[in-house]
Each structure stands twice: as structure tokens, then as C-alpha cells.
Amino acid sequence: MRIRANLFWAVIAIIVGVIVLLGYFFTNPTLTSLRELLLRWGALLAAGAIFLGLFNLFTVHWNKVNDQSEGWPYSAILIFFFLVTLVLGIIFGPDFEVLILFFNYVQLPIEAAMMALLAVTLVVGGFRIVSQRRDVFSAIFIASALLILFGNSPMLLGGSQEFTRLISIVRDWISQVWSVGGARGIILGVALGAAATGMRVLFGADRPYGD
């Protein structure tokens, strides 16, 4: 009985997947409207799943506060603001000025600070490569990064105008020839990998909706 239920869900998923896929290749009005209907259902379900995700987030932090586990005050603050923004949003709508204030003066600066932290992270990562991962590819990676860096700000190196021009030419050659070529190769690999993953789901070999 269980196998039949699994088979049922797999067949539903495969049929929906095939209809949506064929809708990209054929311009039949029935197929197109069916595809759009299924995609709308998908978007609706995804919107519903956001609530499940937020409920999950709330539960995790509620449990942390309840168990008084390490860092529970942070979870308590999260729960407080979670409820405040939820209630204000439901009552006054998303354009309510207090919510916009929260977004502009709390969330945005914190996220911007984390973005800034990324620059430090990358410098530390660069040093880690030099000290721990000493191979040809790492050497090429670091050399390219330095050349692009100095190519964008040649005054860091000083030197004559001729030298600055040479560095700029090398930077352009790396970023417009080697880098673009490499990136296209990687994109091709990613596209094929994504297509293969989609195919496996379409064949029912991968069943992310559970067995």
C-alpha cells in the first residue's frame, strides 16, 4: 500500500514536470494555459511554504529560550521582533512607517556591515591559500587576483606611466580573455549539471518529495 502511495506521488510529479517542460517547447494554447496554471499553483504553494519556514524559525528559537541553551537571549530578542513586525505588518500593512524604519535602520545597516565583513574574510582567505594550499592553481589564483587588484588601482605600485599602462593591458587580457573563457566553461558545466539534476527528478530517480 505504501509503495502504491509513493508511486502515486512520483507519477503526479513526473506528469506535472513533463507538462511544464513541454510548455517551453510547444506553443499549443491548451498546453500553455495548463503550464501557467501549474506554475501559479507552484507559486501559491511556495508562498504557503514561507509561512511554514517562518514557523520553523520561530519554533527553533522558542525551544532555545525554553531550554535556556547557550545564546538564548539572542533568540528571545529575535522572537520579540519577529512578533512585533508580524503584528504591525498584519495590522498596518507592509508600508507602515515603523516597519520601514526597522528595515532602514536595523536590518539594512546590519546586512551592509556583514557585506563589509566579507572583504576582510576574503583577505584572510587569500592569506590562508598562500600559507596552507600551496599548489599551481592556488598560485595562479593569487597572482590573477593581485594583477586585477593592481590593474584597477595602479597607483598602489607607483612607477612610470608606461608601467601603469602595461599593468592595465595585462588586467584587461586576464579579465576579458582568460576569465571570461573560464567562466563560460564553468557556466556550461553548471548548466549541464542542472539539466541532469532536473532529468533525474523528471524520471523519478530523485524524489525530493520523499519516498
Binding site: L21, I186, R200
Partner: protein, 249 residues
């Protein structure tokens, strides 16, 4: 039907046919996989984590399943099934984090199915799959407390990340965890190369199922990818030559 669409459909049919063909040929003509140090080391790291009673964390990305960024997360769910099965007997089962509600639900289903398959349903807990934050950086901000509270020693990123992925990796490196990380975003892959111990480049992100022994169809899809890749490269070279010699406009 448009001409380009016909070509796309034919290519997909060829791709699908190759996957099915190689799946059935797998028993008679086994696939040889090239060495990927990241996945090899992951197997050892998982064993060490189980023996030491430490936890494995898998991140499925900060982006949604809906849209073009969905495929890496689907590949991540396959890796999750394997990791859950191989760590099911641990005192501390795997914990999964996402930045999307749909993925949180799918990860719960995958975990449940994987534990059921190996007869360890007691290891399943719904909050083993967590949505850390709905925006990329709020997700990253939740990582340090997860890594320290759950005593994570293996930190795997298999999903779609932007620049915030590098921060997520760095938190793992700082907590001295084993870090294996891949994303579909090309620019972020450069950041991952600079920060992760074991970065996954390009299609390596989608090869987890084949390397972790998920089944013959995963190896077959790698073979199919190689053949389609060669065909595309030949087409590009041919197009370049024809254009150079003025045969094509």
C-alpha cells in the same frame, strides 16, 4: 514550434536517452569516476564525526527552489539523503539549514525518508531542518550560533549562494570544521575557492550523488553530461571555424 526550441528539445531528448542508456549499461560497463578530493575527504570526515559524536551540518543555500537557482538545492537534497543515512546511528544526527520555506519542508521529507530507509526513524526530528533567515545575510548571521551550539565538525554547503556564501564558509573554517562548499554562481565560486578547504567548481556541485554512492543513475548522468559537453564544444568550435572562414553570416 520555433527552430531553437526544436533544437533544445532534441538535445534534452538525447540527454535523457543517454542517462537511461548508461543507467542500464552500468552493470556491464561500470563508470570510472575521476578523483575529487572534496568528496573523498567528506566520506572520511563523516566517519570521524560519527565516531567522535559530533554533528554534520548541510546548507542547502540562501536562494529559493523556485526558479533557475533550484537545481543546486535539489542536488543538495540527494547529498543530504546520503549523509543522513551514513550518520543515522550517530548520537547527533545531521542538521540542515536553508533560507527558503520550500527547501525546509523538502529537507524534512528527505531526512524522514532517509532515516526510515535505514530503520532509524527515531533519529528524525522536524527541527533538524531549519530555515535560518529569509534574506541571504540574515541566513549567514544565523550560522555561527548553529555551528557552536550544535558542535558541528563537518560543514557542507551544497546549494545556491551569492557572496554571503563566503561568510558562511568562513564561520565553518573558524570553528575548525571540515568545509566542503559549492554554488552555481560563477562569481561566488571564486570566493568559495578563496575561503573553503574543499571548493566544488562548476558541475562538481551536482556530482555528489554519484560520488557518495546514491545509485547508478547518478553515475549515468555524469557520463551523459560528458558526452553532451563534448557535442557542445564541437558545435562551438565548428561554429567558430565557419564564422572565421565566412561560411556563416
Amino acid at each position: 514550434m520555433i527552430e531553437g526550441s526544436l533544437l533544445g528539445l532534441l538535445l534534452l531528448l538525447l540527454f535523457g536517452g543517454l542517462i537511461i542508456g548508461f543507467t542500464f549499461l552500468g552493470d556491464y560497463w561500470p563508470a570510472g569516476l575521476r578523483r575529487l578530493r572534496g568528496y573523498e575527504e567528506l566520506g572520511l570526515a563523516l566517519e570521524r564525526a560519527v565516531e567522535a559524536g559530533e554533528r554534520v551540518h548541510l546548507s542547502l543555500g540562501t536562494r529559493s527552489l523556485i526558479g533557475l537557482e533550484g537545481a543546486p538545492a535539489l542536488a543538495g537534497l540527494t547529498v543530504l539523503a546520503q549523509i543522513a543515512a551514513s550518520t543515522a546511528m550517530s548520537d547527533k544526527p545531521v542538521v540542515v539549514s536553508t533560507g527558503d520555506g520550500v527547501l525546509t519542508v523538502l529537507a524534512q521529507d528527505t531526512l524522514h525518508a532517509a532515516y526510515k530507509k535505514v530503520g532509524a526513524e527515531a533519529s528524525y526530528h522536524p527541527i533538524s531542518s531549519r530555515m535560518l533567515g529569509p534574506t541571504p545575510f540574515s541566513y549567514s548571521a544565523g550560522i555561527p550560533s548553529l555551528l557552536s551550539n550544535e558542535e558541528v565538525s563537518v560543514h557542507v554547503l551544497n546549494g545556491s549562494f551569492g557572496a554571503e556564501g563566503a561568510l558562511t564558509i568562513d564561520f565553518g573554517v573558524r570553528s575548525q570544521a571540515f568545509v566542503l562548499a559549492g554554488t552555481d554562481d560563477v562569481q561566488s565560486q571564486a570566493l568559495f575557492y578563496g575561503t573553503a578547504d574543499h571548493p566544488l567548481i562548476g558541475e562538481e556541485l551536482f556530482a555528489g550523488g554519484a560520488y557518495l554512492g546514491e545509485g547508478e543513475v547518478h553515475k549515468a548522468s555524469l557520463r551523459a553530461q560528458d558526452i553532451v559537453r563534448i557535442l557542445i564544444i564541437v558545435a562551438i568550435l565548428l561554429g567558430t571555424l565557419l564564422k572565421t572562414f565566412g561560411v556563416l553570416d
